[in-house]
């Protein structure tokens, strides 16, 4: 059974940019697997897929969790098994989590010794998938939210969604009067409540499990995810983040953040400027010159640094689908739902790290101990510090490099992933919660730049933007 599942997972391609590909691949796999025709009704297929994916991931999940309570006595093991079974049933029924469940399965297949924090991180980067809505349902929701139908509010409201969004979908339309093109994001009814309830149940099932001491801060991690979720389901929060981001850039800086139309937005409807452009993969297919790719690389770094240093706003998910390469050469940035606004402590911590980039050995070690939230004894562990240091050096390398840094160099990105993997494998995962989001941002931005094969003078941009002058 394990071999089959392994092959199954390996055979499933996963590309964040194309929602269709894994679906089709899974369809094919399923056909082979079941040797019979699939039900063709959309909903029917949706449920079958959800269940199978959940089962695949669950097989790994069970295997992995069990390894965590291997050392316990029989009574405690049985107790854990009961909780585990119930949690799995719940997980399998959460259809909006099918993408996340599959990702979890893949990660567990590749890293069977991942640690609870990694699991929590995966849960934290879920993209909740809502079932697609037809226009008649959408019109009802829209009217509930705004008191009028889309046709009354907009011109040319397109009844077909042009993109799926976390928790909903996005439609194109035009503003009456100005004719300006807008994107209207609409949330599936009651999905926020469903997710919240499911999370609460999941927490209630998982937390009583008795595990090794590494599970200690799982409660905190869950709480962090829940808070993130609360922010993400509230489109008004996203609108606020977008307005902060919008003010961060001057017209000539060529970074475009869509403007929000508050009069046509609520907690579940978000109306914003439509950004015309293509995603990274399509952009690369046009064979852009090195100079053009470098310029876009510059814009990607500038946007990330400016928001972070200038507006205390961390765009924690620099996913390729959130960047638009616009026909006029500008860079469009969307999806501010899972942004993190720094606290005073966060800024203080980050300032210390910033100073360490060019600081003394002592300053570096001090910032690493703080980053890892380490006890003095842990801070004295050479191996732990060495890996932490390697990770920091990797993040800092382009900031220390005079002149353009080659982000496309094959070994650079690989090295970062390898260090991160080592940190996880050795279970050196204790760290400030902020670091999970920061790591996501660092790796995400560098992954984009690597795919762009861009040479960018990150140091100059950093020097210009950082608050530690």
């Amino acid at each position: 059974m394990t071999v089959n599942i392994n092959e199954l997972i390996k055979a499933i391609p996963w590309d964040d940019e194309a929602d269709e590909a894994p679906q089709q691949a899974l369809d094919q796999l399923l056909r082979k697997l079941a040797h019979k025709s699939l039900p063709t009704g959309a909903l029917n297929r949706f449920w079958v897929l959800g269940t199978l994916q959940a089962k695949i991931a669950a097989a790994y999940f069970v295997h992995w969790i069990r390894s965590w309570f291997a050392g316990l006595d029989e009574k405690e093991r049985r107790l854990n098994e009961t909780h585990l079974k119930a949690a799995l049933k719940l997980l399998g029924g959460m259809s909006y989590m099918r993408g996340a469940v599959m990702k979890l399965g893949q990660v567990l297949a590749n890293y069977p010794d991942v640690v609870p924090e990694q699991f929590a991180e995966i849960l934290g980067r879920l993209h909740f998938e809502a079932p697609p809505m037809h226009f008649s349902l959408l019109r009802e929701l829209f009217r509930n939210e705004l008191g009028s139908t889309p046709d009354e509010v907009f011109d040319d409201f397109e009844t077909e969604a042009f993109a799926a969004a976390s928790l909903g979908q996005v439609h194109r339309a035009r503003l009456k009067g100005t004719g300006r093109r807008v994107a209207v994001k609409i949330q599936y009814p009651n999905i926020a409540r469903t997710i919240r309830d499911d999370f609460r149940n999941m927490q209630a099932l998982v937390l009583p499990m008795r595990m090794s001491s590494d599970w200690d801060n799982l409660r905190e991690q869950f709480e962090g995810i829940r808070q993130m979720l609360d922010l993400e389901v509230d489109y008004e929060n996203e609108a606020r983040n977008m307005e902060i981001a919008l003010n961060a850039f001057e017209e000539h800086e060529e970074v475009v953040i869509p403007r929000v139309y508050r009069e046509f937005s609520t907690r579940r409807v978000l109306t914003m400027d439509y950004i015309d452009g293509v995603h990274l993969r399509h952009y690369l297919a046009t064979n852009p010159s090195q100079e053009e790719r470098d310029r876009y690389g510059h814009l990607i770094i500038l946007s990330s640094f400016r928001l972070s240093y200038g507006k205390d706003l961390l765009h924690a998910d620099p996913h390729p689908g959130n960047y638009f390469f616009m026909p006029d050469g500008r860079l469009g940035l969307i999806d501010f739902g899972s942004c993190c606004l720094y606290s005073k402590d966060d800024i203080d911590y980050m300032s210390e790290c910033e100073r360490a980039i060019e600081g003394s050995e002592e300053a570096i070690n001090k910032s690493l101990a703080r980053a890892g939230d380490l006890t003095p004894r842990q801070a004295a562990e050479k191996e732990r510090l060495r890996l932490f240091r390697e990770w920091a050096e990797w993040v800092w390398e382009p900031m220390r490099c005079e002149g353009p840094f080659d982000f496309g160099a094959p070994d650079y990105f690989q090295k970062g992933i390898q260090i991160y993997g080592d940190l996880l494998r050795r279970r050196f995962v204790r760290s400030l919660p902020l670091n999970v989001w920061l790591a996501k941002c660092f790796v995400g931005v560098r992954a984009l730049l690597a795919r762009l094969d861009a040479h960018v003078d990150m140091r100059t941009i950093w020097k210009q933007e950082t608050y530690v002058k």
Partner: protein
């Protein structure tokens, strides 16, 4: 003659309005035909010339609401809807028109549309059921699912529809959004079973070999 018919219609409307106000204000079971007659300023006996029972009267109100929902459906329909969306639109336009009657709908449905009572019990209720199901049959035909839906398909539909009405009448989620979710999923199930029941049977049959 014309004047008499007009007067009759006016009285009828007055009764319906009086009944509606009382049902909403006081509740269906708490309202008597005597109350309605008094509020409509007619003799109780006169009321029975128009409506044989309180249930028939209430069902008449519901039937009229559903009728005007059908007009909205015709207006909003774009002609490119999938079967599930078409059914959704048909039902939701009816629910929108039933909105003012939501508080007492359950009581009326219970007496006039209950699947447990004989179909002759409430003539108006029976007519509503027949009209509604005819509409569904022609909708299924328009989507080339079947020209003659079997009693199984029709009964599955009717059970879902009554279930949705019942759920909606007590749905206290904001803007009854839970009903939207239920309706969306229920129709997905219905369409799957109406369009797929044959192929599913074949598939499970194949699977046994």
């Amino acid at each position: 003659m014309r004047v008499t018919r007009q007067t009759k219609e006016k009285t009828r409307q007055r009764i319906l309005k009086a009944a509606f106000d009382l049902f909403v204000g006081r509740g269906f079971y708490e309202t008597t035909t005597r109350d309605i007659a008094a509020k409509a300023r007619i003799a109780t006996g006169t009321l029975f010339n128009y409506f044989p029972t309180k249930e028939a009267l209430a069902m008449e109100i519901i039937a009229e609401a559903l009728e005007s929902g059908r007009d909205d459906y015709a207006k909003l329909r774009r002609g490119e809807e999938s079967l599930a969306e078409d059914l959704f639109l048909f039902i939701i336009t009816g629910l929108r028109k039933l909105e003012p009657h939501r508080t007492y709908l359950a009581s009326v449905v219970e007496t006039a549309l209950s699947p447990f009572t004989s179909s002759n019990n409430n003539r108006v209720g029976e007519q509503v059921r027949v009209d509604h199901l005819e509409q569904i049959a022609s909708l299924l035909a328009a989507h080339q699912v079947t020209d003659q839906p079997s009693f199984v398909v029709i009964h599955i539909y009717w059970a879902l529809y009554l279930g949705i009405l019942a759920f909606w009448s007590t749905d206290d989620s904001p803007n009854q959004e839970d009903t939207l979710v239920l309706l969306d999923h229920a129709l997905g199930l219905f369409v799957a079973s109406a369009t797929n029941s044959r192929s599913r049977l074949e598939a499970s049959h194949d699977g046994q070999h």
